[in-house]
């Protein structure tokens, strides 16, 4: 019998700690598949931001450096400049990348650092227990928006993929989701494209994932997927904003 599907070799056989219905595990797997596909596991260095994604090193069979909160693109810059032939990526959540780390991501992008940034946007601070994120939607309840986010009071959710796509140093910027099998298949191509383009250069490649956080959205995994479709995708459209569009 022909084997058509197996665990990517870049993914460790460790049970994941993520909550039921969380998409971090899927995103980890898609990264592992891309590294396998491009045969670059042994030259890849990951940079883990602070948040639920910090345990990247527990699951991926690669060298990893922890970064202080928000600073992953700066850490990745230092690593890539020392090892220009390696594959370097940062893995960051919405608080990490779109709040405390906005300066680092914008300037790494603007310098055209040859790194890939994987951005997991679930509209909430997950690890600290569900506070408002820069990507929380209007009306969404969080522990720091107990009456729902009001744009007049807390401002607007930031569309990072669109923002970064306007910078000349960015060669690829896309937003994907992995809440259904069809979306996983599209996301797989996009992640692969982002890593491939890092190798070819020039410029930073950026993939934003919309992701469910059922625990902090106070929903079941199924309800969370419906919320992602109904509320998140209309505000955060899934598209390739810069780079070859046939990848999605």
């Amino acid at each position: 019998m022909q084997k058509v599907f197996s665990r990517p070799s870049s993914l460790k056989e460790t049970p994941m700690h993520f909550c039921p219905g969380c998409h971090h595990g899927l995103v980890h797997r898609l990264i592992a598949e891309a590294l396998d596909y491009l045969k670059v596991r042994e030259k890849t260095i990951g940079v883990a931001g602070v948040g639920c994604g910090v345990f990247l090193y527990d699951y991926l069979e690669i060298d990893v450096c922890e970064a202080p909160h928000g600073r992953a693109p700066a850490v990745a810059t230092g690593i890539k400049r020392v090892h220009p032939h390696s594959v370097v990526f940062s893995y960051q959540g919405d608080g990490d990348l779109a709040a405390i780390g906005t300066a680092e991501i914008v300037h790494a992008a603007n310098r055209g650092e040859k790194i890939t940034v994987i951005f997991v946007n679930n509209g909430v601070y997950g690890m600290t227990g569900g506070q408002m994120a820069p990507t929380t939607l209007e009306g969404q309840y969080t522990t720091t928006t107990p009456t729902g986010r009001h744009y007049a009071r807390e401002g607007y959710p930031i569309r990072m993929a669109e923002l970064l796509s306007t910078l000349q140093g960015v060669s690829f910027a896309a937003r994907v989701s992995c809440h259904s099998a069809a979306h996983v298949r599209k996301a797989r191509k996009v992640v692969r494209q982002a890593f491939q383009m890092q190798r070819q250069g020039p410029g930073l490649t950026f993939v934003e994932f919309l992701s469910c956080c059922p625990t902090n959205w106070k929903l079941t995994p199924q309800e969370a997927v419906r919320k992602l479709e109904k509320d998140y995708i209309p505000y955060f459209p899934l598209a390739v904003f810069k780079g070859p569009r046939d990848s999605a």
């Binding site: 596991r41 890849t44 910090v54 450096c65 700066a74 020392v82």
Partner: protein, 266 residues
Amino acid sequence: MADKVLLNGNTALAYGAVAAGCRYYFGYPITPQNEISETLVRLLPELGGTFIQAESELAAINMLLGAAAAGARAMTSSSSPGISLMQEGISYLAGAELPALIVNMSRVGPGLGGIAASQGDYKQAVWGGGHGDYYTIVLAPFSVQELYDLPFTAFQMAEKYRTPALILGDAILGQMKEPVQLKQFNWEKQKTDFSLTGAAGRSPRLVKSLYLEDKEMEKHNRHLESKYNKMKEDTLIDMDLPDDAELLVVAFGSCARLVRTALDWA
């Protein structure tokens, strides 16, 4: 031995860092230390190194963290308010046990303070500076020659103990000119068995300072403590102590020059 050249302290430090094998520099402009970056931007690319003007001191110290994790001999420099911004990164460097050089050409504070010389960062420097009760190696130059010589010593100590080293200079030392002998240093490539290079033919490596299990954290801090105690053995001191001395005066940096003159007159 080459003849002496006349250099200001900041420029001498830049030459000294390169002579010590430093090939990566990340920094953000601030007075009174800009000649360091303005010299390194010319020297490093010719040697196959990298110079980046970062968007902030936060970015600079974290680029340094990345380069140190990748196994490079790397440095940053700044002055007091900028060094305050770097404290988060210095704490992470100490926690993750990465060797790196941070230069503080200190100015007067607190707050924006001023650009005049001061030794007001003494406590911040010798008591760690950031969160987590760590110590760093702190070397205090006394002359422009020492600004040239100390980067080599700092990298040697930082790599020996795998911890960040600070050079604590000041505005007077950085901007005054003195004759400097441009010595050659016998630097070796540092040991990089902890460095991130891609897990080719070996198991993956991890650079981290996060320890969520209580026992792990305690064990790590005990290990750091024993390292800090050992570091004291390498204390550098320049001492003239006559047998009949009644008074001991301790000073560092540009202030030590004044003290020495005063003692000569006494």
